[in-house]
Amino acid sequence: MERLDRRLGALCATPMLLLLGLTFLAPLVVVAAFSIMPEKVFDLWHQPDFSAYVEVIRQGYWTSVAWALGMALVATVILFLICWPLAYAMAKVYRRFTLVLTIGVVLSLFVSENIRLFGWVLTLMKGGLIEGHLRAWFGTGFDGLLYNVPVIIFGLVYVYLPFMLFPLAQGIAMIPDDARQAAYDLGASRRRVLWEIDLPLAAPGIVVGGLLTFVLAAGAIAESKLLGGQAVIVIADDVETAFTYGQNWPLGSALAMVLIAIIGSIAIVGVSRIDLDAIMGRRR
């Protein structure tokens, strides 16, 4: 019976495995293969070398990597600070309203990210909703609020809010109320309860939310392009340029591999640091 169950499990997983293999793994392998091809070739039948990686270092692409990771990090931290109280309220305080809030946030995902960002462009640009009104009322305008680093980070925070909010709410929901009350009863201040009980027990949610937003934000391109203009170039932008205007697939692949390696190792460290079962004491 148990063997049959196991076989059934494998059988059920097969379609998904095939799909993932075809759509996720295969392009990754192709990109990895292209990254070790000589410059500006469009097929894989060449002597492999690492000239593309040498080019990555020589042309100083690390600045765009640093911008992408730095802005992603700042956005993740801001998102955590914004979402913690809200997620706390959703998990522990609101009852009916949690559903309303969830639906509201999810609805925003129904509109394409680019369209929503264009909405912000119209709002923030010179002559847009804000600047235009101010000029009409007070007679003096300014240069608009677009095309700088803070507005890119604002865009990242705006777009990736659900990816922090929901895992965080899930994590907070796992904190047993009586553990909080017991800590309080044993003399801990509200701040100590937060530090000693809430944060460690919500850690799985924090890590998942943090990783999701960080990984997505680090690879994001639309925010820096639409809101940031040419203020800074992020690595994803470079990858796109290499593949399109640059017509240099090996360089684009090498850049992509570098990004994957950095983000992948961060994700692996993060995921391995949280053992969901151990944290929740569910391992028997």
């Binding site: 009586d178 009350q181 017991a182 044993l186 003399g187 801990a188």
Partner: protein
């Protein structure tokens, strides 16, 4: 046990909307005593304990701890502490970290903390090696002890318990009851213990307070509560009982349906004609009257044996008296009824073993 009052409450009310959970409660807890608060679920005992430790605020009334008003003091500044029904151990910490938690909050140095935690492990008879164990590696009984150790590490003025044993199996519960009573004796702390189990309360506590619908029905030592309950509710709550409504006549005699209380008995209980009263006899005081019985019992009833239950240490019988009233009788194993189900028997007991509950 000295008679210093450590905790006093007066006129305590707690309302949730239209529902009054606690109705003008007064109580004095003596320093060093083991007080059990017993009541059926919904009687307000958990609400009461939450007010004691500060997880809720009373709607009205005052709580004093050693003469200091504490009802407005937040829970984390009260020198009291509670062992939760769920134990509320911190799952992400080791046994040692759990026990040391209140000490850490207080800012004690790590070395001192560990030393104290090890002492407490000794006190609770847990191996010192458990200091580094994870909570989920501990058994149910061990978790109880860890929760107790953590509460004792806090060194509270009063230790409150919210039915911490109710989720355990019978044997473990019995063991922990003994340990808890022993711990109370060794630490000299004041314990206030909430339970719905009469047995638990009887086994451990110095005094028992019976709660009913947000009020105390009776507060007295266990023996008094058992033998001299003030109401039918207490009598019935404290185990099996036989209750006979009495009708006191002008002659002084009182009729209980299937038997009559002689005037000397009603005089002894101070009953006069027209008083509403109920006669109570515990099942273990009633015996079978047979050929071998030498002295005539004070009171006797004839009836038919309906059923016999083997309780292990005793036998219990259900008997229907001639007027239809059901009686419960318990005997020791060596006094087991020799006859068969359906036999007609005579039951007898002494007036000394009767108790009269006044009122309706």
């Amino acid at each position: 046990m000295n008679q210093n009052v450590i905790l006093q409450i007066a006129g305590l009310y707690k309302r949730f909307g239209d529902f009054t959970a606690l109705h003008s409660i007064d109580l004095k807890v003596h320093d060093g005593e083991f007080l059990a608060i017993v009541g059926p679920s919904g009687s307000g005992k958990t609400t009461l304990i939450r007010l004691f430790v500060g997880m809720d605020e009373p709607t009205d009334g005052t709580i004093w701890l050693r003469g200091q008003r504490i009802d407005t003091v937040p829970a984390n500044q009260r020198p009291t502490c509670m062992v939760f029904q769920s134990l509320a151990l911190f799952p992400h910490m080791t046994v040692g970290q759990n026990i040391e938690f209140p000490l850490k909050i207080r800012g004690m140095k790590p070395a001192e903390r560990t030393a104290r935690a090890l002492e407490l492990l000794d006190l609770l008879r847990l191996p010192r090696s458990y200091h580094g164990k994870r909570i989920h590696q501990c058994s149910g009984g061990e978790r109880q002890r860890v929760a107790l150790a953590r509460a004792l590490a806090f060194d509270p003025e009063i230790l409150f318990f919210d039915e911490p044993l109710s989720a355990l199996d019978y044997r473990l519960r019995k063991t922990l009851e003994k340990e808890l009573k022993d711990l109370h004796a060794r630490t000299g702390k004041t314990f206030v213990y909430i339970t719905h189990s009469l047995e638990e309360a009887m086994a451990m506590s110095d005094r028992i307070a019976i709660m009913r619908a947000g009020k105390f029905e009776q507060i007295a030592p266990a023996d008094d509560i058992y033998n001299r309950p003030v109401s039918r509710f207490v009598a019935e709550f404290m185990g099996e009982v036989n209750l006979f409504p009495l009708t006191v006549e002008e002659s002084g005699a009182a009729s209980a349906g299937s038997f009559t209380l002689p005037p000397r008995a009603t005089a002894r209980f101070g009953l006069v004609a027209g008083d509403p009263a109920t006669l109570m006899v515990r099942p273990e005081y009633i015996g079978f009257v047979g050929a071998g019985t030498e002295t005539e019992p004070d009171l006797s009833v004839r009836g038919r044996v309906l059923n016999e239950f083997n309780l292990g240490s005793r036998f219990q019988y259900e008997i229907e008296a001639e007027d239809g009233q059901r009686l419960t009788v318990e005997t020791q194993r060596d006094e087991r009824f020799g006859g068969a189900i359906g036999d007609t028997v005579t039951l007898g007991w002494a007036i000394d073993h009767c108790h009269v509950i006044r009122g309706e």
